[in-house]
Symmetry: D2
Subunit: 357 residues, 4 copies
């Protein structure tokens, strides 16, 4: 279990990092969508390794193939299967670690759960699994566009360097204007320099991605166990390297009083809005028509090019110095992944809106 | 949808804040458990309104009734239904707001989703819904005890006042030693004073609950979409007033380098452990045998006893001054709720461990 | 698992035959339904033991209590919990069999699965569990009435005595005109005589229930694994004592040629219909606008008042002569149960109709 | 929805009859299985068109490709994706019917549900979709072999010609000894002659498949809504052209008395068995250790090569004479499909066996 998500817009991904393929099946995509395959490819290109000087050099064209569910360019309402063939899989770099547990990786825990593992590049625990998420999310995004929802994520912090931007004004071009995907150009330059310096040390660094969904109407999200921020939190904490999630005011709310925090309702030209948005667009787990705003904390990548100590399957202490190709900082590539994850959740919740009598 | 959670240990709650009853059905509880009903009641007592001078004075004995699933004191493996009758429901306090949207409550969003709402006390969005969670979580906890897992949560911060405790040493008696449920006595006293002061102002305040699960063996948690921290994040963000979640190093990981953050594997008397626990007991979404550690941020309660402005169903600006009985700070009562939510997730993931050939 | 059914209109039942209560929680009932509680009670009365001279004399008033989900008489879209307290539970009759496996009952298999069982009256395997289904089905029926769907079931055969009726003309009053619930009065009289004779012998007898749903529009039912007849088949084969299911022409289709069996499409006053209905209203798993027609075979009740041989928990051969109160023929009481099961499936499939772009 | 089945051993199929590929993803396959890909291919070969003189001549090699989930020949416990590329898709034969509704096909109902359809060969409603089921079922069968379960199906009736065999003695070689897959050689010869005669008439004919699962231990199957025969019934009624299902004594039970029908428990060399098996190996929805026995009725194939009348999308009466390549009788190819469906259900129920404390 674990490789599926969503109730109605239901996505199942498959594929190991260095296996033959990675892919996804999407069930429950509404029929009648003129599917833009180039737009799916464009999202994969944003996620792709080798896209810039500050990401992993693994060479994958990541060309998407649509295997089913589309007829004459239009979705049928049947399962849409999407596949990418792995081209630059190079398991040789991993052979020395076949029986060693890399620190802060899933090697040990995968064996504890399944009794065996594909040691070539982390198997399913590799960030390569997110190819399927990004492809599926790109379809979710196309569905959402029909109902007027726009999703934008960006790198808001790398290490201690934060961006100075207001979420309301961030645009896709501003995010894509630099290879860090930070819409604050000055901060972006500093972040890039930090990432380059960290990589030079054979080290890695964490950061924060922020995301906003604009145009979500009031009424999306189930109460109680399937609150909208609950599903967003799960989607984000299920991304590789994610360690924290906030909705709206987040941890900043802790020090506030109710009289400061409450979002006052107002009538804005006939529409009910809130004067502030500390709720992050969600109240009682249901969207209130304001922008949905979240943050995700990513830890530094576990693979560092420095000597470390660990143990092997036999429990013996062994030295370890990773090879392979890795990102010094996941943040730039995490942006399209966060957007995809957010799109899947929102699309599913739209489709879960109850029918009234 | 939204009122059920879990795959195998599956909990469904029912009941409105001021309706006849609140309750839960638990499917998938293993057969053969000698059910300790008094222990369920004890958890409800920790959650109960009116338990101390710093919580809501609503008077509810919250006596649990076991409706099914137990024979001669032992679970049958069939659904266990649990119910509490609401006694002190007082809808009159809410009548003046029947058509007004209380700021930062779920009134407006519930109507947007369902077209109507039970205006008496927030309906399902009320914290009263957590009676079912706590009862179900108390059963999950009894199951977990069988496999050696202990769960402890505590109030780690109220407003700007933080506790100075190490998660490894926190005990249940230390938590229960004061009405704030903070194991640092000095901090607890300051927190209590703050809560009293805030209440005097007709205001409310937020805070942070931390929780740890000790004794979780390596191998719990599904990879990809149902990672253990993903399900914990969802469980916590689905609690009323929750705004943020972290696992292990959380947002603190952002500023760290991989060489600082990685948890080195060691052999400790034949057992594989990690020398540090920045992973919070979870790697690749699967438990690694170290304590599972999380934090949850709670915003200040939305109901304040101060005049506010809002709009009504017709979109007209109207004044609002809440009545009813409310907590100035949810934190003390959130402790057993967080524990229950954590227990449900862990119990379900234990039962999801794959069978090997 | 096993005590829940449905994807959107999701029903979970609880309760053992001789436990404290039996009940159900319904999630996903659309908001805004003016719930007719008397109509729920009326269906329970049709299912009730002691209702006539040819059913079990167990005395249960089966008064339904609505525990949640309804406000001012209208459904909120939140879980509706329904409960009946068991009044005439008499476990003493079962004590002699506490360690014996009654032939063709679930005693042995329940122990094989769970390691223990509630031996008082069959626990969850008792037909008493269907109280929850009938209550939930009565709500599903009210939802379906809103969209113009009418469901009628009747006893079509008892032993070798068949009714001579066309499904198109059967009405509820004709079904309720006699205690057998067979709309052919002559056959009904013969069936009643047979049931009385069989009971006199301390024996039991099987039969067939037919059911039709009129007014189902074209387009309900998912293809592939969740075909409408697949879900109906599962719902029916999950009823106690059911051994067979057919849709439309059923086993009669086996001897036919395609040229005889095919249902020709015609234009009937602007509406697309079929000239015949051997498909039973379902083609490719999806309703086609014609009446949905099914049959269910029920075996004779396993409890007979004759001496039988069996084994006990220790595997020793032991004699067994059941006591307790039992039906000589489940058919008359199966009619409202089949209707309820059909209503739940149809209501759920209506709510699963995909949203189009 | 509808393209997934199973709770733990969960199968999702994709692909249209004349699209690029058909395939399946299997989640929840236990780790550690040495996957026999040749055995999967062998099952596909039994299902393959063009395999004999009495089935459709569509030429499809149906070569299976394993896309993920297997490492060094062993299952990882991760999703196993399997794919077959469609080679002999010939949509031209269907172009004349692009806007006509073929009688007793899913053309009309698919459009009613989705608003559009892939008219090339029936899309998802085509029997070609069962490629994915057979591939997934072949894996389920390998898992079941580990626990000693053997599944055998055969053609028991074609038109009015029935086989004279006892289910206990049927072997795979006897089934595969002729192209009809009927283990009674004399009946098989008569069936083959009938199928050839029917095809000569441009017509089709129905029949019955029987299946038995031997070696299922007592205790598989969930009570109430997910009874073993309920899930088997759903799996079978979700196969193309299925119209009826029975478990054990089936419709034959209707005319029996309880004293005739009950299966007496006996102690057979220390094992608890039943002296007869009218229960078909299932009591109260749970296996009892006896062979699980079912029957499935298949209607005659809807595509006949005779002139028929129907209506088109505009509702106009139009003549129709199908072309394309079709089976005169699905029965011979239904045998591996029924086995696959049964294997999936049993494998899933094995994995659902509750953990005891």
């Amino acid at each position: 279990m674990g490789s599926s998500t969503g109730r109605i817009f239901r996505v199942t991904t498959w594929g190991e990092s260095h296996g033959a393929t990675v892919g996804a099946v999407i069930e429950g995509c509404p029929p009648g969508l003129a599917l833009d395959v180039a737009a799916i490819q464009a999202e994969l290109d944003r996620r792709r390794p080798g896209q810039s000087a500050i990401v992993t050099p693994r060479k994958e064209a990541d060309r998407i193939e649509v295997l089913s569910g589309v007829f004459e360019g239009v979705t049928l309402g049947t399962p849409i299967a999407l596949m990418v063939r792995n081209k630059d899989a190079d398991p040789r770099a991993y052979a020395p670690f076949a029986d060693k547990y890399r620190p802060s990786h899933a090697d040990y825990t995968t064996e504890a759960r399944y009794g065996l593992r594909d040691w070539r590049g982390g198997g399913r625990a590799s960030a390569r699994e997110t190819v399927g998420r990004v492809a599926a999310g790109a379809i979710a995004r196309q569905v959402l566009t029909h109902v007027g929802v726009e999703i934008i994520a960006w790198v808001d912090q790398v290490g201690d360097i934060g961006a100075a931007v207001e979420s309301t004004g961030v645009t896709r071009p501003a995010v894509e204007a630099n290879i860090v995907r930070c819409p604050d150009p000055a901060a972006a330059a500093a972040m890039e320099a930090l990432i380059r310096a960290v990589r030079k040390d054979g080290d890695t660094i964490g950061g924060i991605v922020k995301a906003v969904a604009r145009g979500v109407p009031a009424g999306w999200g189930d109460p109680v166990f399937d609150k909208l921020e609950g599903d967003l939190a799960k989607a984000m904490l299920s991304l590789p390297a994610a360690k924290g999630f906030t909705s709206g005011s987040g941890f900043g709310s802790v020090g506030m009083r109710g009289s400061e925090h409450n979002d006052r309702f107002i009538n804005e030209g006939g529409a009910i809005r809130t004067a502030s948005n500390r709720s992050g667009g969600i109240q009682g787990g249901i969207s209130n028509g304001m922008p949905v705003e979240i943050s995700v904390a990513f830890k530094p990548v576990a693979t560092i090019f420095q000597a470390q100590e660990t143990v092997n399957r036999a429990g013996e202490a062994v030295p370890l110095k990773p090879r392979g190709r890795h990102d010094p900082c996941v943040l730039p590539r995490a942006v399209p992944i966060v957007e995809a994850a957010m799109a899947m959740v929102l699309c599913d919740h739209w489709l879960r809106t109850p029918r009234r009598l």
